[in-house]
C-alpha cells in the first residue's frame, strides 16, 4: 500500500477505494481487472483510477488475489505446477467469512475479474448446497418475508425438489 503519486519506470496505476485509500499496482496486476484493461486498451487509462464500489478492505484482498495470479502465471514454472499452486492459493483465499465472500463476489462482478467471480460464486454455491433452508437464512441473514400460506404454496409447487 502506498500513497506516492510519482510514476516509476514500471507502469503503475493508482487505485482509490470507496473509503479513499490509494493502492499502487503494477500494470500486470491492473490488467486482470477487466474494467481497467478495457480502459488501457481504449487508451483512456489515467494513472489514477477511482473505484467507487469497493472498500479498502476488499480492494486489498482483490489486489492480493490478482498479484498472486499474475506472478504465478508469468513465473516460468510449468503449467501443471502453476495450476496446482493456484488451486491451493484459491482454496486458502476462499477461507474467509461469508460477508467477506459476498463482498469479494460483488467486487469481482463490478471490477469484472472473471476467475475471481467464478471462484466466489462456486464457493457460495457450495455453502448453500449442504445446508437446509433455515441454515441458509441464518447464515446470510435472509429474512423470510413469505406469509405462511405463500411459503406453503411455493413448497407445494416445488415439492419434488424438497423430496
Amino acid at each position: 500500500m502506498s500513497s506516492s503519486t510519482e510514476l516509476t519506470e514500471k507502469k503503475v496505476f493508482l487505485l482509490k477505494s470507496l473509503d479513499g485509500v490509494i493502492f499502487e499496482v503494477e500494470e500486470s496486476v491492473a490488467v486482470q481487472l477487466e474494467v481497467i484493461r478495457e480502459l488501457i486498451e481504449g487508451d483512456c487509462a489515467r494513472p489514477f483510477i477511482s473505484l467507487y464500489n469497493v472498500t479498502s478492505e476488499i480492494l486489498a484482498l482483490v489486489i492480493e488475489y490478482c498479484k498472486h495470479h499474475a506472478e504465478t502465471c508469468s513465473g516460468g514454472t510449468s503449467a501443471t505446477i502453476a495450476d496446482e499452486d493456484l488451486k491451493t492459493f484459491d482454496n486458502e483465499f476462499m477461507n474467509v467469512d461469508e460477508n467477506i465472500l459476498l463482498e469479494l463476489c460483488s467486487a469481482a462482478d463490478y471490477l469484472d475479474i472473471k476467475s475471481l467471480f467464478e471462484l466466489t460464486c462456486r464457493t457460495l454455491a457450495s455453502l448453500i448446497k449442504d445446508r437446509t433452508i433455515i441454515e441458509v437464512r441464518k447464515m446470510f441473514n435472509v429474512e423470510n418475508d413469505f406469509s405462511v400460506v405463500e411459503e406453503k404454496a411455493v413448497r407445494k409447487e416445488f415439492a419434488w425438489a424438497f423430496k
Partner: protein, 384 residues
C-alpha cells in the same frame, strides 16, 4: 426462422397454465404490499446476499444441480423466481425421486417445461437432463425448447428408454450447439440434412447407429468436431466406420466389455475402421482387433491407449496400427496389445519419440524387445 416458430408453438402448448399462476402470483404480491412492512432491526446484519444482482445470484445457483437451486426459492420472495431462468440447467430425476411417485413426476415434468419454455433470460449455456420418468414426447419438447434458447451444450441421458425417435430432428440442425452428449439405448435415426457447424465435442454412449446412412449423415454434418467419444455404440450392419475429421484432436472408441455386445450382436467385430485425422493428439481404443489397415493419418498423435477385448489373433492388423502411431510420446497398452508389440518387434517401425509406457502386466524378460522398439523410453508404469 424455424426456431421462432417452434418456440411459439411450444409456448402455446405449455403457457396457459403459467398465465394462471402468474395472475395468482401478482395478486399475492399486491396483498403482500398492503401488509405493513416489518421494521428492520437497526443493529441486525443486512441481508447482503439478496442484494446481489439477479445475474450474480443466478450464476451462483447455476453451480448447483437445479434441484438444489429450486430449494432456494423458499428463502424469501426475492429468491422465488430466480431458479426459473438459470443459464445452466442440470435436471436429474434420480436425484429427485427415490421411488416413482406419480404427482412428483408430473410436477418435475412441468418444472422442466417451465424452466425452459417460459424463461425470461433467453439463452441457455448448458442443459443436462438425466431422466427415467419423463415421457418421451415431453423430452422431445424440452430439447426443442432448449434448442430455441440457443443452447450451447446438451447432455442427455434418457436411461431406460428404448423408444425409437425420441430425439427431435431439430437437434441435428442446431447452429448454436458446441457440445453434444447423448446417452441412451436407442436406435439413432438421423435426418437427411444434419448441420451442426459449431459442434466441437460429440459423445455418444449406448447408442445403436444403424444403417450406413444414419451414421455417415451424422458424421458428415459435424465435420469440425475436435473431440469424439463413442462408448458402447453398436454400428449395426455397417461394414465400414469412417472417421474422417480434419480438426479432430481427441478420439475415444470404447466397445465396452463383452456383455454389452451380447445385447446387440457382435457385428462390430466385422466393422472396418477408417481413421483419417491429421490433427489427432489423443487416441483411445478399447475393442476388437478391427481391420486397422485403413488408418490413414495419425501424424499428430502424442498420446494413445490401446487395449483389446480378446486375445489378438491377427497381428498384421494391429501392427499396421502401431506403425501409423510412430510419433507417439506416451502409450498405454493392454496385455494383448503388448504381446503384439514385443513378439513382433522386428516387423514394427521404431517408436522414436516414445518416452512413457503404461502397462497392465510386465515381465522383465520382454524388456530388451521393448527397448529395441522404443529406444528413448524413460519410464514404465505398471497398473495392477
Amino acid at each position: 426462422m424455424w426456431e421462432e416458430n417452434l418456440r411459439a408453438q411450444l409456448r402455446s402448448r405449455y403457457a396457459p397454465r403459467r398465465r394462471r399462476r402468474q395472475d395468482s402470483g401478482s395478486s399475492k404480491a399486491s396483498k403482500r404490499a398492503r401488509k405493513t412492512p416489518i421494521p428492520a432491526d437497526d443493529y441486525a446484519d443486512p441481508d447482503r446476499i439478496s442484494s446481489l444482482p439477479d445475474t450474480v445470484l443466478r450464476h451462483i445457483l447455476s453451480f448447483l444441480d437445479t434441484k438444489y437451486a429450486v430449494v432456494t426459492s423458499v428463502l424469501s420472495t426475492r429468491w422465488k423466481d430466480l431458479c426459473i431462468s438459470l443459464p445452466n440447467i442440470v435436471l436429474d430425476d434420480s436425484l429427485t425421486f427415490k421411488k416413482r411417485k406419480k404427482n412428483f413426476e408430473k410436477a418435475f415434468e412441468k418444472f422442466a417445461c417451465r424452466q425452459i419454455l417460459l424463461r425470461n433470460v433467453p439463452n441457455i449455456n448448458r442443459f443436462r437432463l438425466k431422466s427415467n420418468f419423463i415421457e418421451d414426447s415431453t423430452i422431445g419438447d424440452i430439447v426443442c425448447a432448449a434448442i430455441c434458447c440457443k443452447v450451447k451444450e446438451i447432455d442427455l441421458w434418457v436411461g431406460d428408454s428404448t423408444t425409437v425417435g425420441i430425439l427431435p430432428l431439430e437437434l441435428f440442425i442446431c447452429n448454436s450447439l458446441v457440445v453434444l452428449k447423448l446417452r441412451a439405448v436407442v436406435e439413432l435415426y438421423v435426418w437427411e440434412s444434419v448441420s451442426l457447424p459449431n459442434l466441437k465435442v460429440l459423445h455418444l454412449t449406448d447408442f445403436m447407429l444403424d444403417g450406413d446412412r444414419s451414421m455417415s449423415r451424422l458424421f458428415r454434418g459435424c465435420k469440425f468436431v475436435e473431440e469424439l467419444c463413442l462408448s458402447r455404440c453398436s454400428f449395426g450392419n455397417n461394414k465400414v466406420l469412417n472417421l474422417s475429421f480434419p480438426l479432430l484432436r481427441k478420439l475415444s472408441i470404447d466397445y465396452g466389455d463383452g456383455n454389452f455386445m451380447d445385447f446387440f450382436d457382435d457385428s462390430n467385430s466385422k466393422c472396418k475402421l477408417i481413421i483419417d485425422t491429421p490433427n489427432l493428439e489423443f487416441f483411445e481404443y478399447h475393442g476388437h482387433e478391427n481391420e486397422f489397415h485403413l488408418v490413414k493419418n495419425l501424424n499428430s498423435l502424442v498420446r494413445a491407449k490401446i487395449s483389446f477385448i480378446t486375445k489378438v489373433k491377427n497381428w498384421e492388423n494391429v501392427s499396421e496400427l502401431f506403425n501409423k502411431m510412430h510419433g507417439v510420446k506416451s502409450l498405454y497398452l493392454s496385455d494383448s496389445a503388448l504381446e503384439v508389440m514385443y513378439s513382433n518387434c522386428s516387423s514394427l517401425s521404431v517408436f522414436e519419440a516414445l518416452t512413457f509406457l503404461e502397462l497392465s502386466v510386465f515381465d522383465i524378460r520382454i524388456l530388451p524387445n521393448v527397448l529395441e522398439i522404443a529406444p528413448q523410453l524413460k519410464e514404465i508404469v505398471i497398473h495392477k
